[in-house]
């Protein structure tokens, strides 16, 4: 009995040696990839140009202390490019901290589906990494070295995450959400467009994709509307023009819901958008005006903007809001339901009811 026990103990002790020996690699022998850019190969060759942004470890954490190393490789497949890149560096790549996958605009406009073959299969790719489209290409995004960066990649994490800046023009998209929308019947993928801007990035537009390529780019205003409708983004504004003066309301509370109704054989999408907030910018004297009239003005102008956006999506035959999925969710579960939706979406009517509530005019009248 005793011998057995000692044997077991010895085996357990040996296990530590085994795990350390063949599997584990120390942190100073790893290169942490913080962002990856995927572009089509140059000059029309088949394959990809992969750019990796590697974090260079630094003992200091202070503004401007983040050092990066950017490496690029062309190959016929992503996996091959990564393997080839390994032969150009001294440490093992670790994708476990890769937070951004930038897809070149050219690739997105041509066909993005092949890159998912690598992204979905790879075990160390985070499902919660962000995906974006790089303008004009992904490599130029990765080469940006923001001056204020405290550690490598910090700027990107802060921009996309909820901890740093919160812009209503930036709609972060997680990898799993992108894959889900790519596979789903009834909702299409969206990706933010990111471009290099001197010492930083500018992310103000949203690209709308169908199941294989980039179809439309939204303007910053449309991006904000998308964010308000789909994500109920309360860190946003609504605007209206009266006599040439732009009035802006800072949103305090926002609620949207929509349903697909059948009216005399015609399908209508009904969307309710309720917004309340206070004026952020308006000419002096709005306090004295009839708020009901102002609200009506806002209601009408916002509704027509939303309608224009919906029409644009309809014409491009994409559905980034998930109307189709809602249709499936509210109709009997058969194959026919999905076919019906594909037939009726091009002729879908929109009925948008906006209700803006002015809560105050800020500090002045």
């Amino acid at each position: 009995m005793k011998i057995l026990r000692i044997t077991l103990l010895a085996l357990t002790a040996l296990s530590f040696a085994a795990t350390a020996g063949c599997g584990f690699r120390d942190i100073d022998k790893r290169f942490f990839v913080i962002a990856m850019g995927i572009d089509p190969a140059d000059q029309g060759a088949k394959g990809y140009k992969i750019t990796l942004r590697l974090a260079v470890p630094s003992p200091k954490v202070e503004p401007g202390a983040g050092n990066n190393q950017v490496v690029t490789m062309e190959a016929t497949s992503i996996a091959e490019a990564v393997r080839l890149l390994k032969a150009h560096v001294d440490k093992e790549f670790d994708f476990g901290h890769c937070k951004l996958f930038a897809v070149g605009e050219k690739l997105a406009r041509r066909d993005y589906t092949d890159i998912l073959r690598w992204l979905t299969r790879r075990r160390d790719v985070q499902s919660i990494a962000y995906v974006a489209i790089g303008q004009p290409d992904a490599a130029s995004i990765l080469k940006v070295e923001p001056k204020s960066e405290r550690y490598p990649g910090n700027t990107l994490f802060l921009m996309f995450g909820k901890d740093g800046t919160q812009s209503s023009y930036l709609v972060p998209v997680y990898l799993f959400d992108f894959i889900r929308r790519y596979r789903e019947h009834g909702i299409d993928p969206v990706l933010p467009l990111i471009r290099a801007d001197k010492d930083g990035y500018a992310i103000t537009r949203l690209g709308v994709l169908n199941k294989s390529k980039l179809m439309e780019t939204l303007t910053p205003g449309e991006t904000e509307t998308y964010s308000q409708i789909r994500n109920q983004d309360a860190k946003s504004t609504v605007a209206a023009v009266k006599n040439g003066n732009t009035m802006v309301i800072n949103v305090d509370h926002i609620a949207t819901h929509f349903k697909i109704a059948n009216e005399n054989g015609e399908y209508v999408l009904r969307l309710w958008l309720n917004v309340s907030g206070i004026f952020e910018e308006a000419p002096l004297g709005v306090y004295e005006e009839d708020w009901n009239q102002l609200e009506a003005l806002f209601n009408q102008q916002i509704a027509s903007e939303i309608k224009k956006l919906f029409k644009k999506m309809q014409q491009a035959a994409v559905d980034p809001f998930g109307f189709g999925l809602r249709y499936r969710a509210t109709h009997p579960g058969t194959e026919q339901t999905w076919k019906d939706w594909q037939n009726l979406y091009p002729d879908l009517k929109f009925d948008i009811k906006v209700r803006v509530e002015i809560e105050g005019t800020g500090l002045v009248k």
């Binding site: 009995m1 057995l4 077991l8 085996l11 357990t12 296990s15 085994a18 795990t19 063949c22 599997g23 584990f24 690699r25 979905t120 075990r123 160390d124 985070q126 499902s127 919660i128 995450g161 909820k162 901890d163 997680y174 799993f176 959400d177 894959i179 889900r180 929308r181 790519y182 596979r183 789903e184 019947h185 009834g186 909702i187 994500n231 998930g322 999925l325 809602r326 499936r328 969710a329 509210t330 109709h331 009997p332 579960g333």
Partner: protein, 385 residues
């Protein structure tokens, strides 16, 4: 003590993820998964109630003792061997699946076989302990893991990324007729009570199971969660693509301020613990069943020394597990599991009905039972021991 009963129920229902239950259900999401789940809930609850009657009729008796009351020993041996194999395979499949997961997510450079060998060593030690120790380990393990798992499930339900439209879309397919495979898979969630085939030895004669209505409610909730949450996160189509669907689903959750941002690592650690506990119990049950087929009869539930036969039997289990992992790859494992889960459901239904019928005749055996009760000193409850 009724809480030990519920520990088993909770453990087995939570562990369905490791036996590809959500995977199988999601493959049938348009073809009758929901109806199968409903049928499994009814059948599972009914079987549990029948078995509770058995427990009441034969207090302090494990399956071998119950069978022994009605038939000669040679007849009981095949029944016990079949049951032991069922528990052994459940544990082995879980361990194999988990060693692959560790290889995928934690340590890609170590072979999953090496991981499995070490997991087997741990489980060998744990499973050879006495029944009483095993059930205490179960309690400690669950108290550590379950709050965190419940927190993660709560986070999943609360996540803004959860797409309720996808869940509603799939729930519109409720009217498809039930199918065998998803039914058998869902039935697994309700089988926690079956561990009392052996643990019933621990129950005192005045054992009363309270809150038994909680079992079907809890198990149904877990079943719905493990089916619908992945669909909500990966869509009606995307969810069917993933093999280790719950590991990928846990990766979609974020804890920005939780020390570790990626929930998947916390989740996998918790399930590593649960899987080891599950395997420990499975092997222990299998071991006890095989031991009761041996000529010498050891009945003490908490012996001072671990009998050598324990080591031999569990060692054999470990060798079989490693051999299984060596011979079959992931694809074959999944295929075997999906067949095994149907076989397991059949064995469950037949064996519970069988012991229930025995318990109906049990009153006739009451005299024998009482006299047996007086001579043995082992039918003590865990808290009274």
């Amino acid at each position: 003590m009724s809480r030990y009963f519920f520990y088993n129920v909770i453990l087995v229902s939570l562990l369905n993820l490791m036996l590809f239950v959500p995977y199988l259900l999601i493959q049938y999401r348009y073809k009758g998964a929901i109806m199968s789940m409903l049928c499994a809930a009814i059948v599972g609850t009914a079987l549990a109630l029948l078995f509770m009657h058995v427990m009441k009729t034969f207090p302090g008796k494990g399956l071998p003792e119950i069978l022994r009351l009605f038939m000669p020993k040679p007849l009981t041996i095949p029944i016990l061997i079949v049951c032991a194999v069922m528990w052994l395979t459940a544990s082995s499949i879980t361990m194999y699946a988990f060693s692959v997961l560790i290889n995928r997510f934690f340590n890609p450079d170590t072979s999953s076989l090496v991981v499995l060998v070490f997991m087997c060593l741990v489980c060998m030690y744990a499973a050879t302990r006495s029944t009483l120790t095993v059930i205490f380990v179960l309690e400690v393990g669950l108290i550590v893991c379950v709050p965190i798992i419940v927190f993660l499930l709560f986070k999943a339900f609360n996540s803004p990324m959860l797409d309720w439209d996808a869940i509603r879309t799939v729930s519109h397919y409720w009217n498809r007729g039930p199918q065998v495979k998803p039914f058998a898979a869902s039935l697994f969630v309700f089988t926690g009570y079956m561990n009392f085939f052996m643990f019933n030895r621990l129950n005192s004669p005045n054992f009363r199971l309270r809150f038994r209505w909680g079992t079907p409610i809890f198990c149904s909730l877990i079943l719905l969660t493990s089916f619908f949450i992945p669909i909500g996160f990966h869509g009606t189509e995307g969810a069917a693509d993933y093999l280790y669907i719950w590991s990928v689903t846990s990766d979609t959750l974020i804890m920005s301020y939780g020390f570790i941002e990626r929930v998947i690592f916390v989740f996998l650690l918790m399930y590593l613990m649960l899987s080891l506990i599950f395997a420990m119990i499975g092997w222990h049950m299998g071991m006890e069943m095989i031991k009761s087929c041996l000529p010498e009869k050891k009945e003490a539930i908490d012996p001072a020394r671990t009998p050598r036969s324990n080591w031999v039997i569990v060692g054999l289990f470990a060798v079989l597990t490693v051999a299984y992992a060596y011979w079959f790859n992931e694809k074959e494992n999944l295929k075997i599991t999906s067949h095994w889960i149907v076989l397991r459901a059949c064995v469950e239904i037949v064996s519970v009905l069988f012991v229930f019928v025995l318990s109906l005749f049990g009153s006739g055996k009451r005299k024998k039972l009482v006299s047996h009760e007086n001579t043995s000193h082992n039918a003590a409850s865990p808290d009274g021991a």
